[in-house]
């Protein structure tokens, strides 16, 4: 079980968190201007790397805040956490 450092509450058990998949996938400015392919990309297609992955977590059972994390999907090591709106920090896996 991972110990996830909530940017506000500090490290808490994974069971308190909700996973939100890839981070930095912005809702399109004007969906109606997108082709079906482009829209499908937004709806269904996500990065799925083996290695560092910028992803979203919500501290559901705690402060209920969403935040971003870079986690190595091979080791599950959390390399960085950062708040929504902040740029993804440089990390070394």
């Amino acid at each position: 079980m991972q110990l996830i450092p909530c940017p506000w509450c500090g490290p808490r058990e994974e069971a308190e968190f909700h996973y939100g998949g890839q981070a930095h996938v912005a809702y399109p400015g004007d969906p109606s201007a997108l082709s079906d392919e482009e829209w499908a990309r937004y709806v269904f297609f996500r990065e799925n790397p083996s290695g560092p992955f910028a992803e979203r977590w919500s501290h559901n059972a705690g402060c209920r805040r969403w935040f971003n994390a870079v986690r190595d999907t091979r080791t599950h090591d959390l390399l960085a956490v950062y708040r929504v709106g902040e740029p993804m920090p440089e990390v070394t896996a």
Partner: protein, 192 residues
Amino acid sequence: MTVSPLAAWRDRLAALAPVLDVAEVPFRSQLTVRVSDPDAIAAMGATLGVLFPSAACTFTSGTGRFGDVEVLWLGPDEFLVTASPGLRVTIEEVLRGALGTVRGSVVDTSAQRTTVVLQGAQGREVLAHGCSVDLHPAAAPVGTCVQTLLARTGIVLQVTGEDTLTVLVRSSFAEYFAAWLADACTEYLAVP
């Protein structure tokens, strides 16, 4: 006329003494406040006679025109103001006034959660059976306030005294919480 979520549990909770003195403190006034503007936070605090907590996972308390009031940190822009029963309408108005036109919200959530006070030297031990947060006095000193899980329910846990813990639990989960607590005390009752 009014019934609190754990009214039917009063005797069963009382029977957990001497391990823990457990009692529901019903009908507390509780207001959920969402605000991040420092001036508005200061104004709200001034109105209540209590400084809002500035540190995450803590609560503050103070006494003012509404008597003893506590402000619990629930999130970076979220607080729970708790006070004696009967004040929820007034406090809501006063807080709304203090908030003014600043971005934020005040919601009466008094009946959303009920309050249970656990008193006794073994309180932290008993909760450690279901709570993954470190409750060691060094890690969770008096003044700590965490939202976390206890077994299969969410709770707000306040460390209100050296040997006193206050748990706020959603009303619909209150009976589960009480049942869990009573069960957790079984062994402590049997083996003093």
